[in-house]
């Protein structure tokens, strides 16, 4: 589907104090998917993209970082005749604390992603090119990986997604980023980054056509970065849970609770390093 989406890298104004490279990519929710292979599929809403990205990152599958979603005040301009409103129906119950729907019909939604050039924790402290990224499809003809490595890598990504009950309807090499270290500041000269299993670290960067096969009923654990930035988060969350619990009610054990207790395990750390 080359050429059907609009992606830019922008840098914030210097007046903010520190400059960050940000990837903005227009969300295509409601638009027809080009080609005949996706008759029953729909582009994800930006909030679904966030939820899936967090689900994968906390499950040990590296992803690029979705930093924010901007809803512009104006309409997307997509003709109504070309627009499928199913996502608005499925998101009808999702509202802001003021009761306003988070999805506004024909709104222009622009997810903002971190430009992948290094771990988020380093980029927050100081932006810079720690790593060079390139997509897996390019790595194969480049000679960075062999054909068999490419095939094995794609298969491995699919298996990891399956294990997390996430289906990718359009898994492509262009949706997988590999990284290599910069050698003395020169591009294309460093060593490929491998994961703990000795495979090239594959980082998913496209979430438009991923689908949660087991539904959305889960609680995302806070990221390690968020925990450090918000030292009081644990207390606030416990307090919120106490405030909403009925007096005398027994605590409800859920799979998400077990996951939350374990989020600082190797699987989560692996998503950053």
């Amino acid at each position: 589907m080359t050429g059907t989406s609009t992606i830019f890298r922008v840098i914030n104004k210097p007046s903010v104090g520190r400059q960050r490279q940000i990837v903005i990519k227009w969300n295509r929710m409601g638009q027809d998917i080009p080609g005949d292979d996706f008759a029953d599929a729909e582009f994800n809403s930006p909030f679904e993209e966030v939820a899936i990205a967090v689900r994968l990152a906390t499950g040990g599958v590296p992803t690029t970082y979705l930093w924010a979603i901007y809803r512009a005040g104006l309409s997307s301009g997509v003709s109504e005749s070309l627009f499928d409103c199913q996502r608005y129906d499925s998101h009808r119950g999702l509202v802001t604390p003021h009761g306003e729907p988070i999805l506004v019909p024909h709104g222009e939604y622009i997810p903002m992603w971190g430009y992948w050039n290094g771990p988020d924790e380093k980029l927050v402290a100081r932006d810079g090119d720690y790593l060079e990224k390139f997509n897996a499809l390019r790595a194969w003809p480049d000679g960075s990986i062999t054909e068999s490595t490419y095939v094995a890598l794609m298969q491995r990504v699919r298996e990891k997604l399956d294990a997390l009950s996430v289906e990718n309807l359009n898994l492509r090499g262009t949706h997988i980023l590999l990284s290599r270290r910069l050698s003395s500041g020169k591009l294309s000269s460093g060593k490929l980054i491998y994961d703990a299993d000795g495979c090239p670290e594959a980082r998913i960067c496209n979430f438009e056509l991923l689908r949660m096969t087991s539904g959305w009923d889960w609680d995302a654990p806070p990221t390690a970065l968020y925990q450090r930035s918000n030292p009081g988060w644990a207390h606030a969350r416990r307090q919120a849970a106490c405030d909403t619990a009925a007096p005398g009610a027994a605590p409800v054990r859920r799979a998400a609770d077990r996951q939350r207790r374990n989020w600082d395990t190797s699987a989560h750390r692996a998503s950053f390093h």
Partner: protein, 98 residues
């Protein structure tokens, strides 16, 4: 002439307002966002949970909304659209198509 009265919460009329309105070209070289919010400021943020993920919601004066994820929260000032683009020229200078 009677001085106009500012509506509640709209900010002071004495505050500087950018005179540079979004310039619309017939066929721009780079298609940026359809709205440019030079003067937008976030209202008080609020926590919101969507599909199991906690976001921080900023209501922007320019009739837009910004939902910042946990990953983006340390960078919230960098992510305000007014700090990324305020007009088409600025966006054209600042953006590189990937």
């Amino acid at each position: 002439m009677e001085k106009p009265v500012a509506p509640p919460d709209s900010g002071s009329l004495d505050e500087p307002v950018s005179k540079a309105q979004p310039e619309r070209c017939a066929e721009p070289a780079i298609h940026g966002p359809k709205s440019y919010a030079a003067t937008e400021r976030p209202a008080e943020p609020e926590e919101i949970r969507v599909l199991g993920v906690e976001d921080t919601h900023f209501r922007l004066d320019g009739e837009g909304d910004l939902y910042v994820t946990q990953y983006g929260l340390p960078l919230e000032n960098c992510l305000l659209p007014s700090n990324l683009w305020s007009d088409k020229q600025g966006f054209g200078r600042n953006a590189r198509r990937l």
